[in-house]
Point group: C2
Chain length 556, copies 2
Amino acid sequence: MSIKKILQRLDERNLDAYIITHNNCFLGQDISDKENKIRKLCGFSGSSGMLVVSKKGCFLFVDGRYELQAKKEVNLSQITIVHQMPNLNNVCALLVENGLMRIGFDGWCFSIAEMQSIKLCYENISFSDVGNWADGNTPDMLQIKERETQYSGEDSKQKCQRVFKKLKDLGADYCLLTAADSVSWLLNIYVRDLPYTPIVRGYALWNLHTKKITLFADNLQSDILSVKPMYKLAEFLHECNKRIVCDFGTTPLRLLNPCLQHVKDVCQELKAQKNEKEIWGMNMCHIRDGVAVVRLLMWLEKNWQGKTELDVVQKLHELRSEQELFFSESFATIAAVGANGAVVHYQPNEATNKKLEQGKLLLIDSGGQYMDGTTDVTRTIALGVPADTEIDYFTQVLKAHIAVADAQFPFATTGQRLDALARAPMWKKGFDYKHGTGHGVACFGNVHEGPIGISEKNNYGFNEGMVTSIEPGIYMENQFGIRIENLYFTQQQENGFLKFVPLTRVPIDKKLINVNLLNADERNWLNGYHEAVYYWLQKRLNAEEKKWLREACAPI
Amino acid sequence: MSIKKILQRLDERNLDAYIITHNNCFLGQDISDKENKIRKLCGFSGSSGMLVVSKKGCFLFVDGRYELQAKKEVNLSQITIVHQMPNLNNVCALLVENGLMRIGFDGWCFSIAEMQSIKLCYENISFSDVGNWADGNTPDMLQIKERETQYSGEDSKQKCQRVFKKLKDLGADYCLLTAADSVSWLLNIYVRDLPYTPIVRGYALWNLHTKKITLFADNLQSDILSVKPMYKLAEFLHECNKRIVCDFGTTPLRLLNPCLQHVKDVCQELKAQKNEKEIWGMNMCHIRDGVAVVRLLMWLEKNWQGKTELDVVQKLHELRSEQELFFSESFATIAAVGANGAVVHYQPNEATNKKLEQGKLLLIDSGGQYMDGTTDVTRTIALGVPADTEIDYFTQVLKAHIAVADAQFPFATTGQRLDALARAPMWKKGFDYKHGTGHGVACFGNVHEGPIGISEKNNYGFNEGMVTSIEPGIYMENQFGIRIENLYFTQQQENGFLKFVPLTRVPIDKKLINVNLLNADERNWLNGYHEAVYYWLQKRLNAEEKKWLREACAPI
C-alpha cells in the first residue's frame, strides 16, 4: 500500500482522511519492524507516531523525542510534521480545523475508551471503521514457552488466585484480558516473537466459573494452553449473552459488544509490585549486564578512535550475548555521538552512522532481557578530554538524577511529584527536557511498563517493590545530548518512608563531573553508588578489568 | 437544639443518623461564630468538621490539623473523634460499617455534585433531606457596598463581559452563581458580615439575554442591585423551563431542578489571576501589614515577659487597626506558645490561654483584610535563647520554604508538584507536616481561595499573576510548632519560566537560623528577601523602628 493508493480509496469510500497508527491491535505494545505501517508509508521509524492521509495533505504527529528524527527521515514536501503528542484528540482537532469530517480508521488499532471519549468531544465527525488500509504481514507460527517459577517467583495458578480475589465481587462470568503484558504475566508465559520483548501477544478469555483460560492469537501455538484464532473471539463476543469484564483502555473498538463491561485491568497493578524472587533476579541480571557494559566502556577507552556508532552497538551486543541467561536486547541500542545525542530517541543506521570523534560526548542507551529480569541503562561518556560546558551540563544532569535517586518519600507519592524533584534544579537554570524522568520496567517483559512512572502527568502512587528508571537529560540541538539512567526498586525504610535502591551497576564517568557543583549529600550518594558497583561486579571480572573498575569507582 | 433532641427526632422520623456540617448553604465558605452548629452541639470550634448523631453514638470527623484540638474541646465520653477528612464519603463508610442506612441531612448544606457521587457509591443508603435540625440564627440586615475600581482594577461590567465570553457558546438562558466569592468578585461588591471575610453571601442569577443580574440573599439590601429573598430562587427554579448553567460543586442539593445544568464556575479561574491593580494593592497592603507585624515583633522583644497568647492577639489587632485601609483581620489570629504551636490551627481562648515562657517558641499566624488586598503571614520566634534542636528544625522549615519560594518552573506546573519540592528535604530526614504547603489568596476576599494551591492533591496549573501562600511547618506534639509563611505572586521571567515574587514584608527570626545548614543559594535568597523587606518598610518607620529592622534584616 502507498499513500497514493490510500488517497484513491478515500475517494472511493467518500471519506476525507484515514488515520494510521504505529501500533497494531495490541494497543500501547511494542511492534516488530516488519509490522511498522507508518515506516512503510513514509519512512519515519520512531517507536511512536500517528500518520493522517487526507485530501488536504499528509500529517505526521510526533512527540518531542522525535522532532529532529522525523525531519530527517520523511519527505518534507509530501508530509507535514506536527509536533504534538500523537493521539486521537490532537489528530481530530487538526482534522476539524481543516474541515475534514469524514474519517476512516482501523477499529483494531484504537481502544474503546479512546474512541468513546473522542466521540463525545467531536460530535460532528463521522468515524468509519474501514479496517486496515496499510500493509499487513503474515506472521510465522511460534511456540509459547512457560516461564520457570525460579524466575517469576509465582506460578500462573497463584497469580490467578490473587487476581480472582479482586474480581470475584464484580459478579462477572468472564474476564477478558487484552493487554499482552497482563496476559503474559498472568499465564507465566513468554515467546521469542518481538525483537526486544518476550511477551506473548494474545488476548486471554478467562471463564470465572470454570477457571478455564483460552488464549486468542493468530501466530501462536502451545502444548500447555488452549489457543484459538482471533476471529473466534470476535465471533464468541458477538453471540455472547454473559457478563464479561475487560479494560476498555486496551480493548480494540472492533471487539465492542453489549456483553462487555469496563473494569480496570488489575494485573497491571499487581504486576508492577515485584515479588522477592523478581527483585533478586533483577538484581542478578543487572550485575551480569553491568559486567557487559563495563567491558564496553573499557574497550571504548582504548579503541574508540576510528570506530562508529554502529560499531558500539555491535560490540555491546556481543558483550551482552556472552552473559548467562541473556535472551535479547530490551530495545534497539542508542549510540549517539555529539549532535546525534540531542535526538532523544536516535538509533544509528547505515545512513546516519557517525564516527566517534575526539572531544565529543557519546550517549549509549541500551538494555537486555535476561531470563531473570530486564535492564535499561544510559551512560554518557567523554571521548578524549571534554569541554568545561559539557562537564557543567553533565553535572547538572547528575544532580537531577540524584535528586530523585536519593529521595525518601511517603507511600503513594505520585510519579508527577517525584518528576518535579528532578526538574526543579534545572528549571532554576532555565532549562528542561522533553521526556519523562522515569518509567516502570517489567521483570522479563516490557522495558516500559505501566502504571507507575515518573512523569508530568503520572498520578499513580509508588508502593514497595516497584521498579522504575530515573533518567533526566539535557539536549542541545546540533551540539550534544546528555542522559544518565539507572533502574531502581522501591524499598520501605525503618521510618516507614520509601527509598529507591539501585539495580543498575555501571560506573558514571567521573571525567564529566565538576565536583565543586556537588554538595556533600550528592558526593556521598555518588561514592556510595560506585562502592556498590565495585562490590557487586568485581568477582566477575579479570585482574585488568578489576583494576579499571576500581579506578572508575574510586571516591571523589 | 441538643444532641438528645436530635436523637429523639431520629426516632420520630424512623432514621438512623443525622449529619451536621460545619458550613451552611454557602458551601466551602467561611461562617461566623454564631452560625457554628457543630460548636453549639458539642463544643468543637475548629473551622472544618462533620458531626454525625446516630443511634450507635456520636462521631466527630476532623482532619489532621484538629486532632489535638478536638480531643481538648469535646466530651470524649459522649463523642468519638474520627481522624479522617470530614467528608461525606468517609462519613458514609463509617455509617454503613455500623449498619446505619437511613440517614437524614440538610439539603442546603451539601452540594449536588457531592450527593450525586455519594449516591452512586452507596446504593443501599436511603438519604432524606429533612432540613436543618441544628439551631439556626436570625441574621441582621446588612447594606451591600460597591468595591472601588481603584482597588479592584476592573468594574463589574468589564468582568461580566469577560465571563460572558466564556459562557455565550453554551446556549444557556441563565447563569446561576452559587459560590459567594464568585458573586462578590463578579459584582464587585462587599459587605461587613463575616468577621474575617468581606464577601457577600448570596446567589446571583444572571439572565444571559437581558444581562440583568438578581441577587438572592436573606440578610442583605442594596441601592445598586436587585436583591430578593432566598425562597424566591427556589420558587423560580421550581417553575423554570429555561436552561440554567451552574456549578454543581457549590450548588446545594435543595436547589436541584431539571432546568439546571452543571458547568464549572468560570469566575473562579478568572478571579485567581490578579490584574495589575490588584497585584499593586496586594503589594501596598503587605507593606502596611508588615509595619504592623514588625511593631509587634519589636514590642514582643522588649515586653514578652508576663504576657499571654491573648495579649499578643490583642496587641497585633491594635497595631493592624492603626494601618490605613484596614478593614478587618483575615482570620482569627493564632498565637501559640510551646506545645500549643503543635496544634496546627490552635487559637487561644480564655480556657487555653498560656503565658509566654523563656526558651519557648511563639508561633503567630495572622492576616488582615485591607481595602486594597488581603494578607496572611506566619512567623515563629524564639522567646529568649532557643535550644539547638529548635534552631535546627526551624532551619529545616526555612529550607523547605525557600525550596518553593526560590523555585522557577514552567507555566501550568501543578500545585502538587511544587508541594513535593517543599517536602522532599524533610522527607529525607523522615518527617512531614499534615497540611498543604500553600493556598491561593484573594485580593480583599477569602484568605483561602481556589482553585490554585500547593498541596498533595492539587492538579491545577499555575499561571501568571496568581497569589499563593508558602507555609511549610514542623510540629512536635507536646513540644512546639514551627511554620514560616509568606504570600507570593507568580511572575513570568525573561526565559519564559514563572517565579514567585514575595508580597509579605516581615523579617524571619535569624536567632532561629543555623547558617551552616543553608547553602549559598538559600543564604542569597534570605538576604535578598530581607533587603527588600527593609527597603519597602523603612520609609514608614520611626528612627528606633528603622534601627531595629536594619538589624533584623542584616545579611547573614
